[in-house]
Structures are given as structure tokens and as C-alpha cells.
Amino acid sequence: MIVLGLESSCDETAAALVGADRRILASRVASQMELHAPFGGVVPELAARAHVERLAPMVEAVLAEAGLPLGAVDAIAATAGPGLVGAVMVGLVTGQALAFAAGKPFVPVNHLEAHALSPRLVAPDLAFPYLLLLVSGGHCQLLAVEGAGRYRRLATTLDDAAGEAFDKVGKLLGLGFPGGPAVERLARAGDPRAVPLPRPLVGAAEPHFSFAGLKTAVLRAVAERRHARADIAASFQAAVTDCLVDRTARALAAMPDATALVAAGGVAANTAIRAALEALAARHGLPLVVPPPALCTDNAAMVAWAAIERRQAGLADDPHAPARARWPLDADAEPVRGAGVKA
């Protein structure tokens, strides 16, 4: 089975061809970073516009790269949400129209599910259930991944996502967008103990994350003008790391049958955070699985792979599914006060 996957839920246009044998035949991602950078964040209208211009040529490019005609593809999948609805729609309609014209089945994919299952694309031995820490610009969640289509949300953020906090702190420190990689680079030259910063919800009985207070404390530290920027960056990164580790430890304790700790999303690319999670997993006798950066950030190979997993699990999806701004993986999870828009 070969699936063509499309991704357009935010500011990355992507297309990929993936086989059920886990071979990535072709995978392309066009970042729109340069389009949105002047605005300090993603502009939905610009994102949707760029997807329209780029997606069809990209589909042609991945087919050419794999040396396959569209007719050789067994199914077509596209992200149907959550994300910026106008952006999601472009990939969704493209996928639906391709599937219709080529006479292939269409699979609408939840972007979060694609992140959640992506580690199995690179780690064939990774068995269900595993604990997933999804940390990106739009999400900060802990999920028990029990199978394709089977998720239990154990925790989510009450306010900002971790990546969002990195981006806001990057802005406060005068670094460009996105802030994550820039803050990490600056942090290398700083002292993580130099600036006293809070660790919201660390040790709390409730399972969730919160980063708003930390961001406010950074704002104050910057305004004080007493600390070196590198020290602020390093101390901020250390605080986020402590929060992530504490909350993940709590979830691991609540999930004794977990076979692994998996970290996915852009923030999982952070070396310090990754090292801390690795140590935590080791304390529980578990491996830490982090998909490679190309699979961690938005891409279409994970969308194709999620469709493969869903079809193999015998799940039937409505090919005419609408684009969705919100689409929680665990529909039964209780709404959380002030949770991020996509949670």
C-alpha cells in the first residue's frame, strides 16, 4: 500500500508518498517562514494563499521523485484539522479532488494523530500503548496512545503551548520568529540558574501544564535589565524543561503499561529537553523515542503514515469530512479552563 499524504494545516505546505512497509518514497516540505516572519507570527490569509500556489506543484514533484504516476497510489490522505481552517481546506479539498479524479479512497487525517503515530513510522518495534508528549507551537499534551484512533488525553496546557512560550520569549529577547531554535542557541551561552523563574504546576495534583506565569516572569526579568539575555534564555529553558519533566513523570506513574516515552512536536528538537526526557524515561526503564526532526515538525509523511495505520486498523473515515479548527484526539477529555485553541 502506497499513500499520498498532504499537509497544509498551518504554515508548512507538504506532500509525501509513504509505503505500508515504512518506506518514505518522497517527502517535501515548503516552509512559509519567510512569508510570516515580518509579522512575528503566522498570518492565516497569507498561509492559505501560499498553500494554493504551492501544493499542486509539490504533489507533482513527489510523484516525479518517486517515479510513480498518481494511478499507482492506493489512497490519498490530507490533514483535515486541527489548524487554521482556511489553510486546512486547501489541502483537504486538494486531496478530495485528487482522490475523486483518480478513483482512489480518501482519508481525512487528524494532524495530532499524525504526530502521535509518526514515531511508529521510524521505530517499527514501538508497540502500543505508549506515552506521548506532544510539544509544539500549538500543543502541549500528554496522551496515552493505545492504538490508531485510540487516545486518552492525560494532560494538556491550561494556557500557552510550550513552543508558543518559546516563541513569545524569543520575541521578548529580540530574537526572530520562530523563537524556539534561537532561544536554545542563546541559552547555550547562559547560566540556567542565574534568573529565578517559577515552575508553574510542578508538583501539583492536577495533571496539566501551564506556561503563562513563566512567560510573565520572563517579561519582568527582561524589563529589570539586570540579567544577561543568555542567562534569561538558559533559565527559561531550564524552567520549561522542569515543567515538562515533572508533568511527564506524573503521567508515566499513572500509565504502568507504557512501552515507551515518545516526544514529538517542534519543541522535542530541543537538545536540553530531550536529554532530560531521556533521563526520565531511563528512570522508568523505558526507551525515549523521538522521531527525527523532519518527522517531528509538520510534514506530510506522518499524514500518509497515519492513514496507513488507520486503514490497517480497519477504521472507516468519512471522505467528505469538513475542515476543523479544533479536533481533540480524545473526544471524551474534559475541557480544561483556558486551554489553548487547538487543545
Binding site: A56, P57, L70, M89, V93, T94
Partner: protein, 211 residues
């Protein structure tokens, strides 16, 4: 760089699928002036959900078009993008050319077919009570399309000495034919007047100044 989707296409080789989603949800399979099939429904939103099922109905029986034409605006940004994304996907899958036809060209094609004279001012209803204006002659814009608040648009319309048509006239309270872009007229626009399958984004700076 020429768009690979629009390059080197022989016209007139068979039926043309026309997709117009900037205003209504309007689809048609045409051969010049002949309409082989049509789906036209007034629809303010929800184009994305309705489009592919409507295409399936229209093209049932394996009628594969030789070309796809798609409305490029001015129209609803979301609607236009949905139609263009679909058109480009269909062109890719079928291996047929995809060309853009402007909303004003569709309206002008209908107006000409009913004997209206040129030049023609196309007046279209835009969101939030605004009006899109585009004067055309022989399917070529005489000035860039504009988005204007109703008052400014009315002044233009009153001053226009020639024929005019379009859904925006009703908004302005001007008695005339209330046409909206309709796919069935897409086959009447000469090939040389078509453009790339990309949304036309209309400048709205004057609107902001006035508002």
C-alpha cells in the same frame, strides 16, 4: 516561470469543466456555448464541503473533461481558494490544462450572450456591504478591479456612461440585471483571455481610507 499546469494546452479538444466558487457554488460541463451539465446553487459559505460531492454528481458516468477552467475573482477568498485547489488537483490527476477565468469575465460572457454592449462595468457584491468593480472590454479589464464601500461604488456606477451588470447593483439599489458569476458561461471566454489558476486579490485600500 510558466505554470506547468497551464502550459501548452490545445483548446477545443472536448468538454471543459468550469468551477466557480467565488460567489455561488457553480459548476458546469460545457462545450463552447453548449451546456452538457450544470450544478448551480447560491451558497455563501460551505463551498469546501459541498464542492467535491457536487463534482461527483456532475461528472457521474466518467465524463472526463479536456480542460478545467476555474474562477479567480474578485470573490470570496475562501471560496476562490477552494475552487482553485480543486481545479488544480483535477488537472493534475487527469493530465489536462487548468486555466483561470475571472469572475468579471464570467459575468461579461453572460451579458454578451444576452446582447449587452461593451464596454461593460461589472459590479459584484462583496462581503461586509462592499462592492467590487471591474470595467471590461472584450474580456480585458480596462482598469484594475477594486473593492469599494457602497457609497464610493455608487458614485462610480452613476458616473459610468455604458452598460453595467452584476450582483452588486442590487446592493446599490440600481435597477439592472442582477447577475452573479455562473460556470455555464465559462466556455464563452476566448482562450487567449484566460489567466493562470491563481486567486486575484483585489486591493481594498480605498475602502479602508473611507471606512
Amino acid at each position: 516561470m510558466p505554470d506547468p499546469l497551464t502550459a501548452s494546452a490545445p483548446g477545443g479538444a472536448g468538454p471543459v469543466l468550469v468551477i466557480a466558487t467565488g460567489h455561488a457554488l457553480s459548476l458546469a460541463l460545457v462545450d463552447g456555448a453548449d451546456v452538457l451539465g450544470e450544478h448551480h446553487e447560491p451558497l455563501a459559505r460551505g463551498h469546501a464541503e459541498a464542492l467535491v460531492p457536487a463534482l461527483q454528481d456532475l461528472l457521474a458516468g466518467e465524463r472526463r473533461p479536456a480542460e478545467v477552467r476555474v474562477e479567480t475573482g474578485p470573490g470570496s477568498f475562501t471560496g476562490l481558494r477552494v475552487g482553485i485547489a480543486a481545479a488544480r488537483a483535477l488537472g493534475l490527476a487527469w493530465g489536462v490544462p487548468v486555466r483561470g477565468v475571472s469572475s468579471s469575465q464570467l459575468v461579461a460572457a453572460e451579458a454578451e450572450a444576452s446582447g449587452m454592449t461593451e464596454p461593460l462595468l461589472v459590479v459584484l457584491a462583496a462581503p461586509r456591504g462592499q462592492i467590487w468593480l471591474e470595467p471590461l472590454r472584450d474580456f480585458v479589464p480596462l482598469a484594475p478591479a477594486e473593492a469599494l464601500p457602497a457609497e464610493a461604488a455608487r458614485a462610480r456606477v452613476v458616473a459610468w456612461p455604458h452598460a453595467m451588470t452584476g450582483s452588486g447593483l442590487e446592493v446599490l439599489g440600481v435597477p439592472a440585471l442582477q447577475r452573479e458569476p455562473r460556470a455555464r458561461f465559462g466556455g464563452l471566454v476566448p482562450e487567449g483571455r484566460l489567466g493562470p489558476p491563481l486567486p486575484r486579490y483585489v486591493r481594498a485600500h480605498e475602502a479602508r481610507e473611507v471606512a
